[in-house]
């Protein structure tokens, strides 16, 4: 059976079991209809021109995995930023793992979507925010239809959450092939600040397809810093759909580090609803083999005096393929917008490709918008210079690549994340050098 048919036909049995408030049932029912009608996106759609899902849709995925597993902290520790004190929301094969997690209700809610959907005390927040930022595109709709578990984070106003929150989804390989659809909701109220780290990690080489949706609401003067670490195994694919709604004077940053996985598609959407908003979208992509990473970003400037900063660096080796599709929309009312976008790429092999496409739609006249895209090779004279000082070819290459991408790390506020990313880059480039720390 085709994956689409399997999803649609298993929906009703799945939905029947859930004891959520009725509005959510309606939303799910609407969503499955939308998905059924639209189906999985194909290359015929402009936004999917360079990314084909065919190779990841062909597996016979389990949609509702068995729950038993014997994962211990030592199994997952390498994938956590473990040298900092943090809250942790850990999922194993889509199911919450209480013994591996550290959640809280002490002044802030760092807990589970399943609880938030079911319990009356969260009803108001759910009614106000759930599915209010996600679009009606087919993949977010599919996620909405099956949304039952994920992270629920609500930071009431004037809270500075000192410990970062790690949301990590593990898959164990208990299933021959597994499809996951995590659903996260993050609401940051006035003047509050939160830092979140998200990762999807399979512990074996069994195929995994994750179609995740994260909705983030940053209210007045809120600050949210979000870090996505994508370094999954060779048969794991991720479609990340993130929707961010910002109110006035809020600052939200999303850093996406893509070093692994089979196919990764990041749909990252920012909607600015207020003045003096700041949105930051940054990424480092370093891939090889036949890996594919597609960054599809949107920044929607709706009101005056706002800023957005996009900076994506990509390094593509072997037969890897990359896509950057950066859409910036500046509405007529959004005067004095300052929108900056840059996408720089290095192709390390003849067979690697990158498709970079900026899309600026500017309807206001008093704005500063800049965009730049470069595709190049490593500087050969720099290579000779470094090698002539005794730095071997591989290390010289790595140092140049690191230097090429490391300004993206300047805006990372947690030093341990910076260190971890630096180590991952060294590992990805196959060298054992300290770079600049």
């Amino acid at each position: 059976m085709e994956l689409k048919d399997k999803l649609v036909s298993s929906f009703f049995a799945f939905e029947d079991h859930l004891e959520d408030a009725s509005p959510i049932h309606d939303i799910r029912n609407e969503a499955i209809k939308t998905f059924e009608q639209k189906g999985f996106p194909t290359k015929k759609e402009e936004a999917w021109k360079y990314t084909s899902l065919n190779s990841v849709l062909k597996h016979d995925y389990s949609l509702f995995p068995k729950t038993e597993n014997a994962i211990e902290y030592k199994d997952i520790k390498p994938y956590l930023i473990h040298d900092i004190d943090s809250y942790k929301i850990i999922f194993i094969d889509g199911k919450y793992s209480s013994h591996l997690s550290q959640t809280t209700h002490d002044g802030i809610d760092v807990c589970l979507m399943s609880a938030a959907l079911a319990k009356p005390k969260y009803r108001l927040v759910i009614e106000n925010y759930f599915n209010k930022a996600a679009t009606k595109d087919s993949l977010p709709s599919l996620n909405t239809a099956f949304s039952s578990e994920g992270a629920y984070i609500h930071i009431p106003k004037n809270k500075l959450v000192e410990k970062p929150i790690q949301i990590v989804h593990f898959s164990t390989g208990n299933e021959a092939a597994l499809m996951l659809q995590p659903r996260n909701l993050i609401v940051v109220d006035e003047n509050s600040h939160v830092q979140i780290i998200e990762r999807h990690q399979s512990l074996t080489d069994n195929p995994v397809l994750t179609n995740s949706v994260t909705e983030i609401f940053a209210n007045k003067r809120a600050i949210a810093d979000y870090y996505k670490i994508q370094n999954d195994n060779q048969n794991a694919s991720l479609i990340d759909n993130t929707f961010i709604k910002q109110k006035q004077e809020s600052h939200v940053s999303v850093h996406t580090f893509s070093f692994g996985g089979k196919l990764t598609r990041n749909n990252l959407n920012f909607y600015q609803n207020g003045e003096r908003i700041d949105s930051t979208l940054k990424g480092i992509t370093i891939i090889g083999d036949k890996q594919h990473v597609d960054h599809n970003t949107l920044v929607h400037h709706i009101e005056p005096n706002c800023e957005s900063h996009q900076d994506y660096k990509g390094i593509f080796g072997d037969s890897a393929t990359g896509v950057f599709n950066g859409q910036v929309v500046v509405e007529k009312e959004a005067q004095k917008t300052n929108a900056y976008q840059s996408n720089n790429n290095i192709l390390v092999s003849d067979k690697a490709t990158i498709n970079s496409k900026p899309q600026l739609e500017i309807f206001a006249d008093d704005v500063k918008c800049s965009h730049g895209c470069t595709i190049g090779q490593l500087d050969e004279s720099a290579m000779f210079y470094m090698r002539s000082r005794g730095i071997p070819e591989k290390e010289a290459r790595a140092l140049l690549m690191y230097a090429f991408s490391n300004n993206v790390l300047n805006s990372v506020k947690i030093p341990e994340i910076k260190q971890r990313i630096t180590k991952l880059i060294a590992k990805k480039l196959g060298v054992n050098i300290g770079f600049d720390l």
Binding site: Y385, S388, G390, E393, E395, G434, D436
Partner: protein, 250 residues
């Protein structure tokens, strides 16, 4: 130390070096002079192992070993150092980190442990003082936005850090003011010993007043057409190259 025998090299099928013979013994300083485009930098790059240059004929022997097949980094590990005529800017890599990596990779190649951090710091301090380089400078991106003179001084700082057996200084004097020239020359002289050697490529006598050569060679059209004692440099500075070109019938 270094013996070059009938070296022919080309780039993109264009012959540039057309039979170079040169022998440099430990403890010696050789100066190479010659008109623009005669092949001086090419010779330096070929010795250092730049891959875009094709060695068509001849050989380069370092301490009895043919190094033709060695990669640039392997030559560096054997003690060859090239101070570039045009040092390359490397944004995002600090001088300090670059030097740490270069030294530790060289040690690794020799089967040694990494240099302990405090020792490294001490070495950096010592050598930057020798070349009167401000410490703040060392945390900047390598050569990026450095003035011409700063780049050259930084090259010699790197040389001092790496303590090569054979240093080739390609127009290290250009871009240096009088004070910097003295500091740089002093740095080179401090490193000189009976066990190492220096090849100085220059157009001007003034550097040779400080780093006194044992031999002066004139490179013209890919060949060494004249060699002589240090006085030859004076003669060249006074009379230019035309008389030599006439002598060799070019």
């Amino acid at each position: 130390m270094l013996k070059i025998d009938n070296l022919h090299a080309s780039v993109e099928d264009k012959a540039i070096l057309k039979g170079i013979n040169l022998e440099v013994k430990a403890g010696e300083v050789h100066a190479i002079m010659g008109p623009n485009g005669s092949g001086k930098s090419t010779l330096a790059s070929v010795i250092a192992g730049r891959e875009d240059y094709e060695v068509e004929e001849g050989e380069i022997i370092l301490e009895g070993e043919n190094i033709d097949e060695l990669a640039a980094e392997e030559r560096a590990h054997k003690g060859i150092f090239l101070s570039f005529q045009y040092p390359v800017e490397i944004p995002g890599v600090s001088v300090t980190n670059f030097m740490k990596t270069a030294i530790n990779e060289t040690r690794k190649a020799k089967g040694l442990e990494e240099m302990p951090a405090n020792e490294m710091l001490k070495l950096i301090r010592e050598k930057s003082e020798l070349l009167e380089i401000d410490r703040k400078f060392l945390s900047r991106s390598l050569n990026e936005g450095f003035s011409g003179g700063e780049k050259k001084r930084n090259e010699i700082f790197q040389m001092a850090m790496l303590e090569p057996k054979l240093a080739i200084l390609d127009e290290t004097d250009s871009g240096l003011d009088i004070d910097a020239l003295r500091i740089v020359a002093n740095g080179v002289n401090k490193l000189k010993s009976k066990d190492n050697a220096v090849i100085v490529i220059t157009h001007y006598q003034r550097l040779l007043d400080y780093i006194v050569p044992d031999y002066v060679h004139v490179l013209h059209n890919g060949r060494i057409v004249k060699s002589g004692p240090k006085e030859l440099a004076h003669e060249l500075e006074e009379k230019g190259y035309d008389w030599i070109k006439e002598e060799v019938g070019a």
